[in-house]
Symmetry: C2
């Protein structure tokens, strides 16, 4: 580093630190009274204060398009959900480019990287910092506050944020904005005199030493057995009151049970930030709890895609891929009959992987994850599925933001579901009229963590023994992930909601003979499973190999690195068929397992299948998709793909 | 009227008129260029204008809690939907009490009265005025603008609004607010000097004469064959420019295809009102169309119940019933096991009756409306139902605001559904975790317009002939609505999705004997329909009377004024049973029709039935509800209700 660089970087760090304190103290404060006496609005005539607070004329806003920096410490699954609601409220009111500095553990990073990449919000930059690096700096402090070690990290943020960062607003994950964060940012300028005044003194003392000394003394002299970050901030501030310029309390309206928050504001317009810093969160008892809850619920259920708003007149705001995507969308012809299909294929859905707490399965060489996708109308399948499949699952859910909250409530109130930590739920947010079935499958597939995946559908219940049987078969067949094998799980169906699920192949065959069970779609779509050769399966004692045939779409177990589903197939029809063709083209061997089975439960036809049946346009568009798929196939596999095209043409000539 | 009263009232009317013009001109203007040159923000340094527009320091806001008055002309089904989105955007940003003056036709009034009554927004007053009264005043003007006669009514608003109303903001239904309307209201004060200055001149001229003279001259001299309201406003203003003080164009950002709207604003913060005044509406091509669309969609999908926010510190803001309701909700014990049920029972859902255009059936003495309720996961039943029931239907849909938009799209893209104008859809907005089945039924029942109703469920398809057969039966049996008769439609079920629906009773009996059909819930809940006496029905040639028995829940045709469903039954279980008990207690005769039938199609179990099956608490709560229902029954019917209680106790002792 150049000699001249060092003092500047250090100065910046100290500046950051101060502002961190200024903001941090009020945004993280748990002492409800502190600072209330200093608010500007309380002692004045309400009429005047109304106009003041509505317009904040004292504050000169920063130049248009100035980037605002926000730092948030975030760890684990639940905080990752919280941070999204906070971000929505930020984005809803913001008019400036934002740079989010996220200090995360591996879990939160994995979730939030995917989320922000797919969210594609213009004029938002996100940087990640590894919280692990900060742990040693604070782990010596005993603490028992519910935010734990990650709360304490706010003390040492300057050591991880880039030295070039002069100012940053530090936020807890449990705050909701009800105003534009630029107004908070503007306070930096307002207070800049104060900060410059104390710069040299701070440089002499050094923040790092200051808080450590204080913390150690607190631990020794005050008989404290644990300290939360705020205890330390409070102690430092008590010793060095000149460090702090209090924020008006409207920037931290705290909703603990006994807070006197209402002394802080005269009316809704005054509120800037709501802080849900009670362990009771939304169920907190407070005079205006209903009002605050509604504000929070507004953003909880807010459709995040509506926040993909560009800022008028600010340059270079597009996230990677967004401009090309926008162009492709603009080039679509709205009058074309398959416009809806084209648009749906191009849609980038926001994706929130591992929406709920999850324990990844321990690494085992033959383990299998069940992969499936669903929307709200299939939620009631989950409990039964959990009973039938004791192994890991990776499920993609196609939901609105509001439905995601209903889903959360559903899981929390189900003893069966809330017990299972090996089921990973990935929320793909709804956008557009057609169900993006293969995009959903790909999300679930990409998040499977075992070497093998069972590619199933949500309305199938596997044999109780299937999970164990598959793992044993993979071991016995000495498959490894380099061998291209697709194990076929024969599919059956029942037309009865209540039926006793067969405990063995023998029981299944009895039900089949009695007419209580059928091979899957035997009446409507026999070609989908005929290659499985059910009559051979009846007698089979060992796995047997079968050949691909037109429209074959068995449920298979394959290595996790298998080809992805073709996302062009949206809505109903041919989405699995195309995937099986892809497997066959890549020379996967189809091996039917003699003891494996899975049974489809009845359900009402989906909206998409209803549209397929009733709309000629829908069927024509599906046909067009098939043809384009085959063209791509020929390009990629050359003459080897010829047999699929021939099969398609034969099917068409029969139709 | 007192001599002193008249001039004051007149002065107020003229004042109103002027302000109507001031606002009206810009909010209704279709000339995109007019007024652009006069905006305050365009000629200034953007940095300064940014701070100006963000804080509007020139404007002194009116006193806290001052009531703001808004007038809107609204006619028909589609405008009634538009006005709700406008209202949500108004409510989202407002901080003042609002008084909405709605000038409506009978259709809009019916819809909006119900909506606002159930919306229960604090600090909102709604008054209705009959647009019919204004028609003669403007019907002489030839016009072909798409808003038609109702657009012209803005010219004569002063003659219908109360004379005491000094100021009012007049809005089109197709605007979206992106700021607090109080800022617009504040412009009244800003311009008050101008208005006072011209008051006496206006009094001499008289607005009513002024616009009529102008309109007539336009029609004569300019060879015009039609005039829209804005043509007349423009012409009057051209002659009397002193009448108008232009509004900054940010208060009317017009989204026509070729508007130069972007000359009006520098950034999002500048925008105050978006005006969707292109017939292409949301599909308009405009540089920032995406931005504007997202703002509009924000409110389109916004959960309206979140706008039930009280205004801090303003008195008397509660709509009728709201305070008692709030008290009752507060008194519930959150720890009680049936808390969710209690809360759901007390919930007042927003109701939007006749969500889509509807032609009421012509009055016929024996006509029957099919009444049912559904949520999103049963939408695919609607087309089949339309094919089976050619008569009027009244359907309640339990939806979120966002789902209501999906539903709209679903109907619009379905040829079968969009053709049918005799199906009335009533949206009841979701709130709470339990399906309020009986509240939904009551909404649909209350909106049925024929003398008789067929109380069905959405997963039943009636015999193709049922509608005609029921009307004929009612006529032949010489029923009239005073005779307490419940015609029983025997219920069957199939377990197959695809089956050929029987065209006659004979065909049905063949399927029944072949085992393809069953009597409804024969295996799970035989007592629900055993009283119908299926074996007698097989042979019956004439209607026969049957007696009530425990748990009987047939599908019946009754006079429209039949007892309502008991709203305490939410979620799954006993909701129809209780209604049939009520009918029996009121001495309705149950008469089974020999040729009537209806068939239940299979579907996956609902979430509520799954919870009922898996949760002992759920079952216990249902039991508690039953007991309370019986207590009420005893209170109302005395010893006559004893038999129901005995039946309940017998059932419990058997269980």
């Amino acid at each position: 580093m150049l000699p001249r660089g060092r003092p500047r970087a250090m100065g910046a760090a100290v500046l950051l630190l101060l502002l961190l304190l200024v903001v941090g103290f009020f945004l993280f404060g748990r002492d409800p009274d502190y600072g209330l006496g200093t608010t500007a609005t309380l002692d004045e005539d309400p009429y005047r204060s109304r106009n003041l607070s509505a317009s904040s004329p004292q504050l000169l806003l920063p130049p248009k398009c100035e980037m605002l920096h926000v730092a948030i410490v975030c760890a684990g699954y639940n905080s990752s959900r919280e941070i999204i609601t906070l971000t929505k409220s930020l984005l809803f009111y913001r008019k400036n480019p934002l740079h989010l500095h996220l200090i995360t553990d591996a879990v939160a990073r994995n979730i939030l990287e995917t989320l922000f990449r797919t969210w594609m919000v213009p004029a938002v930059v996100v940087s990640f910092y590894d919280a692990e690096e900060l742990k040693p700096l604070v782990s010596w402090i005993p603490n028992k506050h519910y935010s734990g070690l990650y709360g304490l990290m706010k003390l040492v943020l300057p050591s991880i944020l880039p030295p070039s960062l002069a100012r940053v607003i530090v936020l807890d994950t449990d705050v909701t904005f009800s105003s534009d964060i630029v107004e908070l940012w503007a306070l930096f300028d307002h207070f800049s005199g104060v900060i410059l005044l104390w710069l040299d003194r701070l440089q002499q003392t050094g923040w790092e030493q200051m808080w450590k000394v204080t913390a150690k003394r607190e631990l020794l002299t005050l008989m404290a057995t644990s300290l939360a970050d705020q205890d330390i901030f409070n102690a430092v501030i008590k010793e060095h009151p000149h460090l702090v310029h209090p924020l008006p309390c409207v920037w931290n309206v705290q909703l603990s049970d006994h807070t006197r928050a209402e002394r802080c504001y005269l009316e809704a317009a005054d509120l800037k930030v709501i802080h849900w810093n009670s362990p009771k969160k939304l169920r907190v008892k407070n005079k205006h709890a209903e009002f605050f809850r509604n504000l929070h619920l507004t953003f909880l259920g807010y459709d995040g895609k509506l926040l993909r708003r560009e800022l008028f007149g600010c340059p270079n705001q597009f996230p990677p891929g967004a401009e090309q995507l926008q162009q492709a969308l603009t080039q679509l012809d709205e009058e074309e009959p398959c416009f809806e299909f084209r648009q749906q294929q191009l849609t980038v859905h926001r994706v929130h992987i591992t929406f709920l707490p999850h324990q990844p399965p321990p690494p085992q060489p033959h383990d299998v994850t069940l992969v499936a996708q669903l929307s709200m109308d299939r939620l009631q399948m989950l409990e039964a599925l959990c009973r039938h499949w004791p192994g890991p699952m990776s499920l993609a859910l196609y939901l609105t933001d509001e439905e995601a909250q209903q889903f959360l409530h559903f899981v929390e109130t189900s003893p069966v579901l809330s017990m299972r930590k090996d089921v990973a739920y990935h929320v793909v947010y709804r956008d557009g009229p057609l169900y993006p079935v293969n995009q959903l499958r790909n999300v679930a597939l990409a998040q499977a963590l075992t070497p093998y995946v069972f590619l199933s559908d949500i309305d199938f219940l596997p044999a109780y023994s299937l999970y164990d049987y598959l793992r044993a078969s993979i071991e016995q067949l000495e498959l490894d992930s380099r061998r291209k094998t697709a194990l076929v799980v024969p599919a059956f169906e029942t037309l009865h909601y209540r039926f006793s699920f067969p405990n063995s192949k023998a029981e299944l065959l009895t039900l089949l003979d009695a007419g209580s069970l059928h091979t899957f779609r035997y009446h409507e779509w026999p070609q989908g499973h005929s290659s499985t050769d059910y009559s051979r399966w009846r007698e089979a004692q060992a796995p047997y190999s079968v050949q691909w045939s037109a429209d074959y779409e068995p449920y298979v177990v394959v290595p996790r690195d298998c080809p992805r589903y073709d996302p062009r197939f949206v809505g109903f029809g041919w989405n699995k068929v195309a995937h099986i063709i892809e497997l066959d083209a890549q020379e996967y061997e189809f091996l039917v397992l003699p003891e494996a089975f899975s049974i489809h439960l009845p359900h009402a036809p989906s909206l998409d299948i209803s549209r397929f049946r009733s709309s000629p346009t829908y069927r024509n568009c599906l046909q067009a998709l098939k043809e384009e798929f085959h063209q791509d196939l020929s390009r990629r596999y050359g003459s080897a793909a010829l047999k699929y095209l021939t099969a398609l043409q034969q099917a068409r000539s029969r139709a």
